[in-house]
Symmetry: C2
Subunit: 323 residues, 2 copies
């Protein structure tokens, strides 16, 4: 009788199906993910993580495809995680793009995954980081974490990366001026894509000036503004060079500190999500809240009245059962 | 010596400055908000709450302005809360629109407020509902809760309303087909704005068919598709009639049940936000998590190790001090 290799064995020997399974556990908040995580952990931390965000139409997907191609040309493997926090409303447009892309690539050194969720964006960010950890532990060299859109939910996702690229293009227009402050706060590298279009030079100058004004004299990293034309395959090496420069600026020590803070944020996401699930989905407190509201209590009265009982339940619950 | 009237007195006599102050407390998560809330509560529940969402460019702001005008023409007062969950990235475009609108109106029966946040969207949704409660308790007849965009964060905000309008317009194009499923799940009324543009008839037919297929034979509310041209002031009464029809469909009992569930969701938001703040911002657990990570523990190990201590802290904390 032949024995089936275990999932751990398949994962360890580079079976992408096993990786897909593990990521699905993370996505579905399945208790098998945390159980598997302790095996994974010792291998997490090798991969470089690049976040890519920007407004719709800026050409993020094309840029990500070209970045993946360039990484592969260096014989490095690459994982792409495309996360769409607004998927119930966009119908998973990003997902469709990705499926098309995955069909195109028969390269075993590329792994592509989409993630979309009806759940709160907290849960999605948590799952996205878990998926990156899984790809990292699987042994992929470079992980690109891409989101559609430029909202808070999107940024919460890409902020888990070591280096965040914000992709813009000329003609997106009037918004850019107003967006500057927010963008400069989150971007490590600014990519002006479709740089062949009119208005690109002006956008590059504007962004460069704003970036310098913001960071001048503070010893801070000034986000470089990198022109690219992803559709023509131009500027891709320059984008990767800017990512490398950002990483060099951080240094090993800086990277470790930054990663620890991102890890603390993930601990907090996991904890808050579990606590909320434990109390509300399984603790019966929803029914209790309904009863108190029916009796005339206000929102804040109900919160105050539930507190003690919830604390007692939490104290009586072992960490394992919060899994 | 004359004595200054208290905030409660000013609020009770309809001073908009007092309302603005109370909403700022909610926005800033100030403990004075929950303290004031018990005074407010007995007056909350009179106002009809309408949520408005839809993709950028669909003409939401113009529609909301026209709805407000129509409500005022019936001698009813109206409060508008414009919430922008993506504000750090859009630079508060919505806010700018609103300021212009507020300048235009000298009508004391209209109150307009913007809300934008760098914080997690959980906190923003909680604050938005608190602000609606404040407007409701203040005595405004009709509250319009508007968001920019169509993501999960936006829907979480508008779902607090009794009736949700999704505003679309022709020419937004390819997205509509894919968006249908998500939209039909959240919309109580579908408004096809800019109905004078080519493609509007087709969009109306498509949406109507999809809405009927989805709800046929299930005894469910079928979202009506209402054409409008807000820029020309056309179709506004029809939109308000559709809102009234939805409310009539719910009935008093149905409305009460729906509102209770929305209230439970708000209780959960308040509780989860406080718990997270209590433990992470004030409990010192962030530092503890750093220490465990430095010692080599994995994300999930850290969560398990923090659980017991956090539960004990929570049990030892009175509800008041979580304020």
């Amino acid at each position: 009788m032949s024995q089936q290799p275990s999932l751990s064995e398949r994962f360890a020997r580079g079976d992408k199906g096993a990786l897909a399974r593990v990521i699905s556990w993370a996505e579905n908040n399945d208790p098998r993910f945390p159980a598997f995580f302790s095996q994974l952990w010792s291998k997490v931390g090798r991969a470089r993580r690049i976040g890519v965000t920007g407004p719709p139409g800026a050409g993020k997907s094309t840029l990500v495809n070209e970045l993946a191609r360039a990484v592969r040309a260096q014989s490095r493997t690459v994982g792409i995680l495309a996360v769409d926090p607004s998927s119930p409303f966009t119908g998973g447009a990003l997902l469709g793009d990705r499926i098309r892309m995955e069909e195109r690539t028969a390269d075993s050194g590329v792994y592509i995954r989409s993630m979309a969720s009806r759940k709160s964006h907290g849960g999605l960010s948590r799952a996205a980081v878990d998926a990156c950890d899984a790809m990292d532990g699987f042994g992929l060299d470079e992980i690109v974490l891409e989101t559609v859109g430029v909202g808070q939910a999107e940024y919460d996702v890409v902020s888990a990366a070591d280096t965040v690229l914000v992709v813009l293009c000329p003609g997106a227009g009037d918004g850019i001026q107003a967006m500057k402050a927010g963008i400069l706060e989150v971007a490590d590298v600014l990519v002006v894509n479709k740089a062949e279009l009119p208005g690109a030079d002006r956008l590059i100058v504007d962004l460069s000036e704003a970036a310098h004004i913001r960071t001048a004299g503070r010893g801070k990293w000034t986000p470089p503004v990198v022109p690219a034309s992803a559709g023509r395959g131009e500027g891709i090496d320059e984008v990767l060079a800017a990512v490398a420069a950002h990483r060099a600026h951080l240094g090993e020590a800086g990277l470790a500190v930054a990663r620890r803070e991102k890890r603390v944020a993930q601990v907090r996401r996991v904890f808050d999500e579990r606590l909320s699930e434990l109390l509300w989905e399984r603790g019966g407190w929803t029914e209790r809240a309904r009863g108190l509201l029916d009796a005339g209590a206000s929102t804040y009265d109900v919160v105050a009245q539930l507190h003690a009982g919830m604390a007692a339940q939490l104290a009586a619950t072992s960490p394992r059962s919060t899994t």
